[in-house]
Amino acid sequence: MPESQAAKTQLRVGLFVTCLVDLFRPTVGFAAVKLLEDAGCKVVVPPQTCCGQPAFNSGDRADAQAIARRTIDAFAGCDYVVAPSASCAGMLAKHYPDLFADEPDMAIKAAAFSAKCCELTSFLVDKLGVTSVAAHFSGVAAYHDSCSGLRELGVHDQPRKLLASVEGLSLVELDEADVCCGFGGTFAVKYGELSNAIVARKTDKIAATGADTLLAGDLGCLMNMAGKLQRLGKPVKARHVAEVLAGMTDEPAIGEPAEAQAK
């Protein structure tokens, strides 16, 4: 839908803020709100917890279904449901209908809900036709594609397109950009040693780009990569792509202390 039309009808967009952003990095939520409002949307935030993916991927189907039911109801009045995470958006858009394969009524409802769900940057670019943002960020950034974005939702060009319009930012491509960072939700804790080995290779690739900033659209991947970069003492700062696109980079980068920012 073109931007002008969005402004005319004012789309009511429910922000699915994601549990990680809600708990760990509210800045990303406010950045998403700003980007959506700048694009002419009316943003609402229904009370919410999590998309249910930890339960779904741990084999706890009943709890995943219960959480999905609540989420579907909570966003009933929205034209679209947008998440600043491809992983959570993938759960909402691709896996909710699977959860109710044995319940025809609910499956229809879930499919209708799923059709409204989008990842943030692809919503801005593909649905609203946004081509640029009014933001400034000085730095050289490497962009990490999250697996769900890349392979479930086709998110690849959209964030790059928007980032290209950020003044002062130059973007470099990561070697092995289509390889997982090793996060995988609870995998990162349950198989910590394996997850750590996978992210070690990823952070080598990040460091090799010479970028000073790492950007991605998923906070889980970002916390994983930032945590490894920091443990290794690499001076790369990690931020969610929405923060940069919204020009909201006053807060310290992920895992960085407040004092360092004041320098």
Partner: protein, 475 residues
């Protein structure tokens, strides 16, 4: 089950693999398959359409497997061969030993066969005093080393050139000790010279099959070294050992699947040899075996038909999933602990040895989805792994602490007001504690994370509490 699994000790295997410097030096080779596959796919615009048709062929075959099995059997018998059905590994071994004993076999040469690994055939032959000789170069190397394959198409991918030279010097003792083995070609020609004698002295040649063609009763192997041809053409008896989902209706169907097989596996347009065998030698044939047997192994596969894991029976064993798997790249194949590694192994292992034994494997995945993205047969590997996790959860095989933590989290996640009540003070507290450093080097219950990585501290108040404050608590 004939081969003991170390899969229940998967985490220990992972630890050992990550600290095995020799293995870590060899593992990067597995990554080379990726660019080769990508180049091969790029050269064939209709590749994705071929994947669709390959999937359709297999789905159709599996839906009518009984029919095609009977047709295949009829054709083999018409051509003068024999078909043996084996419900499990023990039956398959009994059949093969019976064939070997009937012809007084002392030496059995073998083409590469993962099903023979599945049933533990080499050990069973040795127990009966029959020498099994692996003739695929990689298989030959690991047989010398007393190891199992670590990859389904590149069995010795965990071994370096230096290792092979040392193994050859250790085992080939009647050759000149000062011979030059510094170049790969020299290793190759030494192995070739030794295997040549074995081919000629073998009584039985055993191969696997990439396809069993119902229309003609033909078994087909796809190889690169030519060892398979010598294995099956020279001895008096040729035994084909294959699992029953290798059945393919027609030669035309095979031709279509062949177009995705080698491209997905090694990035070749076609493998060097595609060899078709139909029955024993006929009176006017120049060569060929006097007896031709097909041993069809079930091992639980027929029970998989029509169930939630039926998609797995489409697998054509190309290895693309493991070639693109970050977990496989990190640890190699042996750490998976049984016969089949990588994503296909993570789905197949619990099917063949039970989820209680094999359950670690479908859990050890980030669900990054690359395996499904490259699978020529479009097997939804992550979904199938998730289905295993559901089975484990239902049967309470999930570790009790993980299960309790999950249920506790879900209790709150299902109740937004309670959730808010629980997490908001916690995040404020964690935010305060972590503010000075911005992150934690250690956290309780998250040692798996913090042993190798820092953990970012929360910013403090949650987004939802800030949003409520900002919008005047209207929601």
């Amino acid at each position: 089950m004939s081969v003991a699994a170390t899969t229940p000790r998967f985490k220990d295997n992972v630890h050992d693999a990550l600290h095995d410097e020799r293995l870590q030096r060899a593992l990067p080779h597995a990554r080379n398959f990726m660019s080769r596959r990508a180049d091969a796919v790029a050269r064939l615009p209709e590749f994705d359409a071929l994947r669709d048709s390959a999937r359709a062929i297999k789905d159709h075959t599996l839906a009518h497997l009984d029919l095609y099995l009977e047709a295949f059997e009829r054709k083999v018998v018409e051509a003068g061969g024999h078909v043996h059905y084996a419900r499990d590994s023990d039956e398959a071994i009994a059949v093969i030993l019976g064939i070997c004993k009937a012809c007084g076999a002392r030496v059995v040469t073998k083409g590469k066969s993962m099903v023979s690994e599945e049933i533990g055939l080499n050990a069973a032959l040795e127990r009966e005093g029959i020498t099994a000789v692996e003739t695929d170069l990689g298989e030959y190397v690991i047989q010398l080393r007393g190891e199992a394959p670590s990859h389904i198409i590149a069995p010795a991918i965990h071994v370096t050139r230096d290792d092979i030279e040392a193994d050859f010097r250790r085992v080939h003792r009647d050759l000149a000790p000062d011979r030059d083995l510094s170049r790969p070609e020299q290793l190759l020609s030494e192995a070739r010279a030794i295997l040549r004698d074995r081919f000629l002295s073998a009584d039985v040649g055993l191969t696997g099959a990439n396809f069993l063609v119902a229309e003609t009763g033909t078994s087909i192997i796809v190889t690169n070294e030519g060892n398979g041809d010598l294995t099956q053409a020279l001895p008096k008896v040729h035994v084909v050992l294959a699992s029953l989902e290798k059945i393919t209706p027609t030669l035309n169907d095979v031709a279509q699947i062949l177009r995705v097989l080698a491209r997905s596996a090694t990035g070749q347009d076609m493998s060097v040899y595609t060899t078709l065998s139909t029955g024993p030698r006929r009176p006017r044939d120049a060569d060929g075996p006097e007896e031709y047997h097909v041993v069809l192994l079930d091992n639980g596969r027929s029970a998989t038909l029509g169930g939630p894991f039926a998609d797995m029976l489409r697998c054509i064993r190309c290895g693309a999933c493991m070639n693109h798997c970050p977990v496989y790249h990190a640890i190699g194949g042996h750490a998976y602990g049984w016969v089949y590694p990588g994503p296909m192994g993570a789905v197949l292992t619990p099917l063949l040895i039970g989820v209680a034994e094999g359950g670690q494997l479908p859990n050890a995945s980030t669900f990054c989805g690359r395996c499904e993205a490259v699978c020529p047969m479009r097997i939804p590997l992550p979904n199938l792994m998730r289905t295993w996790r559901e089975r484990e959860f239902e049967r309470r095989l999930t570790p009790p602490l993980a299960r309790a933590a999950l249920r506790l989290w879900a209790f709150f996640a299902k109740r937004p007001p309670l959730y808010r009540f629980a997490v908001e003070p916690a995040m404020r507290g964690l935010g305060l504690i972590g503010r000075r450093r911005g992150r934690f080097a250690w956290l309780p219950f998250a040692g798996g994370w913090t042993r190798g990585r820092d953990f970012a501290a929360p910013q403090g108040a949650t987004f939802q509490s800030r949003w409520r404050a900002k919008s005047g608590a209207t929601q």
